[in-house]
């Protein structure tokens, strides 16, 4: 029967093109543009080692005589350094590529950490209920009342107090990831808890309990796949927040060590030269950061509108 088999002859690409999500995606040119820019920035930063015109952390490749060059199109600019150079002769374009690699890496890892903590706590709170639920959700409420950056600063301060000073540089990135990750788990936990409480009463959970499957297995093997819906949206929205928090902490000097800078560190370094008129050292990394956060935000907003309109 050729009529009934006709839809099946659509190639995979065509089927993707005709799905609701793709249609709504293509109907929003701002989202398409944002997604393209965000993707390009992520690809460029992941491939920084291959794309960057120079390796800014290879002392042999940088030359102090190239220091403080303005962007290539300004008077005195050098064609080798499209966006100019900083105080020790590193090309701004290269430092931005390497810096956004650090920013995106820390952003992704800390969102993954928040997701892990939030989903686990949400599952346990929603499935077990009672005292555990009360403790987890009260903690979440208190934390939600405090601004993320303040929580991250406090956790950062506590971790710095705990870590022996001599190892501080080595663990700085870990401290940063922990402080951002621990300050962002609440949204995940709340969403997962709400849908877990619904799933808990479903028949498949009852069936699993009847055949003697353990609580942990029920939570993580049976309920988890059914409550993951809103997670992707929350993760995307949190990614821009995590990148911003990282940049802010690094700007404040409690972030990544200066030897492995992120965008926030680059901006902070550049402010020292603002008064001598070398605006490019600060403004270009700043623009890269703002563009990255804005585009990820736009994609996240669109995902929320299409996939989970009920999320706040």
């Amino acid at each position: 029967m050729p009529e009934t088999s006709a839809p099946a002859t659509l190639s995979r690409w065509q089927r993707i093109r005709q799905s609701d999500i793709a249609i709504s995606f293509l109907a929003s040119p701002v989202t398409v543009a944002a997604a393209v820019v965000a993707l390009l920035m992520i690809i460029a930063s992941v491939g920084a080692a291959f794309i960057a015109p120079q390796n800014p952390y290879d002392m042999g490749a940088i030359d102090i005589f190239d220091a403080m060059l303005p962007p290539a199109w300004e008077e005195g600019g050098d064609a080798r350094f499209l966006l100019g150079t900083d105080a020790i002769g590193r090309g701004i374009l290269s430092t931005i590529l390497y810096g956004s690699r650090m920013s995106i890496f820390i952003g992704l890892v800390s969102v993954a950490l928040s997701l892990l903590i939030g989903v686990s706590f949400g599952l346990i709170a929603g499935y077990r209920g009672g005292l555990i639920d009360a403790i987890i959700m009260r903690t979440a409420e208190v934390q939600l009342a405090l601004p993320t950056i303040l929580v991250a600063l406090l956790i950062n301060g506590i971790l710095r107090a705990v870590a022996p000073p001599s190892t501080l540089d080595n663990v700085a990135i870990l401290v940063l990831i922990l402080s951002i990750g621990l300050s962002n788990w609440v949204q995940f936990a709340r969403a997962v808890r709400a849908s877990t409480m619904v799933e808990r009463g479903q028949e498949y959970v009852l069936a699993a309990r009847l055949i003697g499957i353990g609580q942990l297995a029920i939570m993580f093997r049976h309920i988890l796949p059914n409550v993951l819906g809103p997670i992707l949206v929350i993760a995307t929205l949190n990614l821009s927040g995590a990148i911003l928090t990282e940049a802010t902490l690094s700007f404040l000097g409690v972030g990544v060590p200066p030897t492995r800078p992120s965008l926030g560190t680059l901006i902070n370094d550049g402010t020292n030269f603002l008064f001598s008129g070398a605006w490019w050292i600060t403004i270009f990394p700043g623009a890269a950061l703002a563009l990255l956060v804005l585009t990820v935000n736009l994609v996240g907003d669109w995902m929320r509108d299409v996939l989970n309109p009920t999320l706040e």
Partner: protein
């Protein structure tokens, strides 16, 4: 009434107690404070005597009690880094932060509410949509970057405004408060930091008022007011705006926490001698007494704001009181 208030008070005290416990436990992480205070050639007997004098040989519970009773009286110990009492340090820095934060909250209300009303009423207008787009960009640009760009434009290029510090200050209230509002340089120094700090709040207030206005304009009583033939001005401001303000006031109250957090960043950008910078230095230097004191003060601030908000709800929303009025519960 009394039961409700005392219940909320008990909760607040419990939260403060827990925060104080966390703040106190920070001291346990840095090792022996004696080692930082003595010279190399101090004898064991001298160390022991110092430990006794400082009460470090007492049980933890007594030390904790001493810390709490000190904190209640504003005594948070001596800063490891500044070598001065933390209470004095905070008292010195408080006016700078309060003036900066207060001015920016004022700015965000004075600018955000009219913009929100305008964009809410002219939803599809070109200017309103432009403002919304700008506000989205404003949310995506981090506070510190906005501060840096303002400094570059107004201090470096134009040279109109100072880029750091508070300018000249005047001591008032018997020397306990230093204000920047009474001198020209103090006022000029306030402009850039307060705009930086206000910008995020302004976009928040604007978006919130807009959303509330859109909701309210759809309600029946607005339609009825139109049907009665009331003028646009009366409908927009007497009927619509008034009803949007309740949630706005609540959010502004809760946003004070954000102002404090962003004040840390703003103070760092503009080298503003306030509490935020004190706290940031404490984190960088692992200065535990200052960190603990700041933690307790922030928690105290949040608890007070939450308490006031809850009590205000109780005063405003009669439904919260209904369970005490037996017989009229089903209103």
């Amino acid at each position: 009434m009394i039961r409700y208030v005392s219940g909320r008070l008990a909760q607040s005290i419990l939260v403060m107690f827990l925060v104080a416990a966390v703040a106190f436990s920070l001291f346990g992480f840095v090792g022996d404070p004696i080692r930082q205070m003595i010279t190399e050639d101090a004898s064991q007997a001298e160390i022991e005597r110092l430990r006794d004098v400082m009460g470090l040989n007492d049980p933890i519970s007594i030390q904790f009690w001493r810390y709490i009773s000190g904190a209640v009286q504003g005594d948070f110990g001596v800063s490891y880094f500044h070598k001065r009492p933390v209470g004095t340090l905070i008292a010195e820095r408080m006016p700078a932060t309060v003036e900066l934060a207060g001015l920016s909250v004022l700015l965000s209300v004075l600018i955000g509410i009219p913009l929100g009303v305008y964009t809410g009423l002219n939803r599809f207008g070109r200017v309103a949509r432009g403002l919304m787009a700008v506000s989205l960009i404003g949310i995506s640009i981090p506070t510190f970057l906005i501060g840096i760009m303002l400094i570059y434009l107004f201090s470096v290029i134009l040279g109109w405004l100072p880029s750091f510090g508070r300018g000249d200050t005047v001591s008032i209230l018997g020397g306990s408060w230093s204000t920047g509002f009474l001198t020209i340089s103090g006022l000029k120094s306030l402009i850039l930091p307060s705009i930086t700090l206000a910008l995020f709040q302004t976009t928040m207030v604007m978006r919130l008022v807009r959303a509330e206005m859109l909701d309210v304009m759809r309600t029946d009583y607005i339609k009825f007011a139109r049907a009665r033939g009331l003028g646009k001005r009366a409908i927009n401001f007497r009927h619509a705006l008034k009803n949007t303000l309740m949630p706005v006031v609540t959010v502004i109250g809760l946003q004070l926490g954000n102002v404090i957090a962003f004040a840390i960043i703003t103070e760092s950008v503009f080298q503003w001698p306030g509490m935020g910078r004190l706290f940031l230095q404490a984190i960088q230097q692992v200065d535990i007494p200052v960190m603990s004191a700041y933690l307790i003060m922030i928690a105290f601030f949040f608890v007070i704001i939450n308490l006031i908000t809850d009590l205000a709800y109780y005063a405003i929303d009669p439904r919260l009181r209904s369970n005490t009025l037996k017989g009229t519960a089903n209103a």
